[in-house]
């Protein structure tokens, strides 16, 4: 049984980092906030590893299943007798896996940032935000209560907001941070309502209780929830779909993905941590957390998840082929890969061999975290070196940045699914799962994996080969700092090793939909198609981008309007802009403000003005003429007397 203190310390150490450098950073530990944060996170990382070791190897299985452990459950806020937010720590295979992912990537990013962010004015603030994010993400991962997940969900959202807007005097960064927060907030609205629906019908906010009640078709909870219809769909389906909406927002699924490319305005290590490896997979994690409900009770919603994932994967891959900002390419690639994870869950079933998709999704989440973080950190190193995000300013960098080049290549091979790198194994499993349950999605995925190889190697050749490097930033000696110190190289190398070797982990042993071990099968015959496609993509990219030439332009011409639409990201941003600016701001907001000032307040003012007007008229009676008063008095007295005598006897 893992120790409560050990597990509690995993999120609390980064929190301590946040508080310390947040409060004292500005004055007292300005220069040391980085090392403080890194060391605290190192502690967290070691504790996570030991927890994982304890859980998987010391504590082991009971009845062939890894048991879910809840070392802490504290009622934080009791809404009513049944519903309460319990702050809990839950240890089960996926949360342990996520602990490893989060602490590893976060540690690497902390370390890397020591070099990357050196000399920044708000260095300590940066580390305190990183601490806040890591704490929130770990809290999210360890949540055992759906409302607790929502709490940390919001917290990662806000730390993402803070980090995207880290360069707050850059208007584009401010706009991007706002966009990220608001779009995910919109999705969270769905999540919140989903929580309300599901917790109301299941009578609990605790995941275990909720899943248990909602997955037994005979239970009263399920019956009442199915009986309750809204617009012809059962309440349960609505709840599940809305919860997924929250996940889709955070995981940048189509059509809620628009914030992710803009989020690249943040410092590159932040993109590596938040917008590649950890926060954006929270949606996948959430679906995985509630997987039994989706798989057993609302299969229709699960199928929808599959389609959303597949569509996102292919759209993002197409857009990625056309972008020139290297971070944006990586962002779309992230979106595409998360699409893979999402549809893997979508095509999965619950239990046994049918649950392959679930295992594959988690496996891909794990490997993707490693190689995508590596890609971002590598891109960061490149950007650090050339002071530009644009591919046209790069080229021929392999001579100047050998370590970065090597690790970047490893990561590209991994994401392209070339054996024996990590991505190959996880992607094969996903494709296999899709092949067995939904051929349509399988073919989409197959095409997407070919595109993936193409755009990644387009990036790779564009950065490191192509034309010889010429420093764009004239008057600035960009070569002086080289690739950055060992603090920046070490994470690259470590992650490179992980990206190369993580595929050999027998993942099915540890993580599966029902907890029972799932052996992975490899069919060489099955692997031929995707690997061939991947190689073809690489070759195409090599042909177009190995040397600088006019092939890319020709290609773009050949696709014509389609290329242009993809380059403009299929105009989704513009649609959103129209809805928010024109409809919400101008139509609704302006109308509401006008209505309030003119109609509602106008009515109040009218009351006041009418009173004034009437008094202006009737003040004439106050003429100062005594006889007039007396006459009125007598008349009134007579009338009243007559009234009382004759009418109101």
């Amino acid at each position: 049984m893992p120790n409560l203190l050990t597990i509690a310390l995993i999120p609390l150490l980064p929190l301590a980092g946040f508080v310390l450098s947040g409060i004292f950073g500005r004055r007292y530990i300005r220069q040391h906030a980085g090392w403080l944060g890194t060391l605290l996170l190192l502690g967290s990382f070691v504790l996570s590893l030991s927890t994982a070791y304890d859980y998987f190897f010391v504590y082991g299985k009971t009845d062939g299943v890894y048991q879910t452990l809840v070392p802490l459950q504290h009622t934080w806020l009791a809404f009513s007798d049944k519903l309460s937010i319990d702050m809990s720590l839950v240890i089960d295979p996926i949360s342990v896996m996520m602990l490893i992912v989060v602490t590893t990537v976060s540690l690497m990013v902390h370390l890397y940032s020591l070099g990357y962010m050196k000399g920044e004015e708000r260095y300590s603030t940066y580390y305190s935000f990183l601490g806040l994010f890591t704490f929130s993400m770990l809290g999210l991962v360890l949540s055992g209560n759906i409302f607790q997940i929502y709490i940390f969900w919001e917290l990662v959202g806000v730390s993402s907001f803070l980090l995207i807007g880290f360069y707050y005097d850059k208007p584009s960064a401010v706009a991007a941070s706002k966009k990220a927060f608001i779009v995910t907030r919109f999705a969270d609205l769905g999540f919140l309502i989903g929580i309300l629906v599901l917790s109301y019908y299941s009578g609990s906010m605790d995941f275990q209780t909720m899943i248990a009640r909602l997955t037994s078709p005979e239970s009263n909870e399920v019956k009442s929830a199915v009986a309750a219809n809204f617009l012809g769909v059962s309440a349960l389906s609505w709840g599940a779909a809305l919860v997924f909406m929250g996940g889709a927002g955070k995981s940048a699924m189509f059509p809620l993905h628009i914030w992710l490319p803009d989020a690249m305005e943040g410092p590159t290590p932040v993109s590596a941590l938040i917008h590649a490896a950890t926060m954006v997979v929270a949606g996948v994690y959430l679906v995985a957390r509630m997987f039994p409900v989706f798989a057993l009770t609302t299969p229709a919603v699960l199928e929808m998840i599959g389609w959303v994932g597949a569509v996102s994967a292919v759209i993002a891959a197409v857009i990625a082929c056309t972008q020139t900002d290297i971070k944006r390419v990586l962002a779309y690639s992230t979106m595409s890969q998360i699409g893979f994870m999402m549809f893997a869950l979508g095509v999965s079933g619950y239990g046994g061999e049918a649950g392959l998709g679930y295992t594959a999704s988690m496996f891909h989440l794990f490997t993707h975290a490693m190689f995508k973080a590596l890609l971002f950190l590598g891109a960061g190193a490149v950007i650090h070196y050339v002071h530009s995000n644009e591919m046209k300013d790069m080229g021929g960098l392999r001579k100047y940045m050998p370590v970065t080049h090597a690790t970047f290549l490893v990561a590209c091979l991994a994401i392209a699914g070339i054996p024996p790198f990590a991505g190959f194994f996880s992607k094969e499993e996903i494709l296999l799962a899709a092949y067995h349950s939904n051929p349509a999605i399988y073919y989409i995925a197959l095409a997407t994996s070919g595109l993936t190889a193409f755009y990644m190697f387009r990036l790779y050749f564009g950065i490191f080969w192509n034309k010889p490097y010429q420093s764009a930033a004239t008057g600035h000696d960009s070569h002086s700092h080289g690739e950055g110190g060992w603090v920046m190289m070490l994470p690259l190398v470590l992650l490179g090793l992980a990206a190369a070797g993580a595929g050999f982990i027998p993942f099915g042993e540890f993580v599966s939909s029902d907890g029972k071990a799932l052996a992975s099968h490899f069919h060489i015959a099955f692997s031929v198609a995707p690997v061939t496609l991947g190689l073809a993509g690489i070759l195409l990219a090599a042909w177009m981008y190995y040397r600088s030439g006019n092939q890319p332009d020709k290609m773009a011409m050949a696709f014509g309007g389609f290329y242009k639409a993809a380059y403009r990201k299929f105009y989704i941003d513009e649609i959103y802009l129209f809805v928010t600016k024109k409809v919400l701001f101008n139509l609704v907001g302006r109308t509401a403000a006008w209505f309030d000032r003119t109609i509602v307040d106008g009515f109040i003012n009218l009351t006041g003005n009418t009173t004034l007007l009437v008094s202006e008229r009737i003040k004439k009676f106050q003429s100062g003429k005594v006889q007039q008063y007396a006459l009125f008095f007598l008349t009134a007295a007579v009338l009243l007397a007559a009234l009382f005598i004759y009418v109101l006897k």
Binding site: Q627, L631, L634, I645
Partner: protein, 172 residues
């Protein structure tokens, strides 16, 4: 059945009301004061007719001898001789007459409809009775009001002097 007493009453009533009307309608202010005087004398006559000689005497002494004289003095002080009073606006006059008539009619209707209880045997009131009661301090005595009224008169006297004698503020 008309006897002397009855005729006397009607004469007195006619004197009172007639002079009252003339008093409020004449446009010579001095004549108005004189008509008022006769009207008050008429009221005193009614008191006599009712056999309350003491009250009638007081009425004549205080009203006729005091107040009317005071009024005449003030007329001399404030009015140019022979000046006619300004007329009230016609509409005001009509409205006032209408309101007053209605009120009068209403009051009289009520008075006539009301049945006042008949008093017992009539008893002559002597000045002695009045004096004893006025200075009686026990139950039903009027000693305290009497004193209060005297204080009031004193206060009124002082007040009159203060009001009438006030010179204009510092400007002079």
């Amino acid at each position: 059945m008309m006897n002397g007493s009855t005729i006397l009453f009607y004469l007195l009533a006619a004197l009172t009301l007639g002079c009252g009307v003339l008093s409020i309608s004449t446009r010579h202010i001095f004549r108005a004061a004189i008509y008022l005087l006769f009207s008050l004398v008429g009221v005193a006559g009614i008191y006599f007719w009712l056999a309350y000689e003491f009250i009638a005497a007081v009425q004549i002494v205080v009203y006729v001898g005091g107040i009317v004289v005071l009024i005449i003095f003030s007329i001399f002080l404030t009015q140019q001789a022979g000046e006619k009073l300004p007329a009230q606006s016609l509409s005001r006059g009509i409205w006032a007459a209408l309101a007053v008539f209605c009120a009068f009619a209403l009051t009289m209707l009520q008075v006539v409809q009301h049945n006042f209880p008949e008093g017992g045997e009539n008893k002559h009131v002597t000045v002695r009775d009045i004096g004893e009661k006025m200075l009686h301090t026990g139950d039903g005595g009027y000693a305290l009001p009497f004193e209060i009224i005297s204080m009031l008169l004193l206060a009124a006297m002082v007040g009159c002097i203060v009001i009438a004698s006030r010179t204009k503020p510092e400007s002079k």
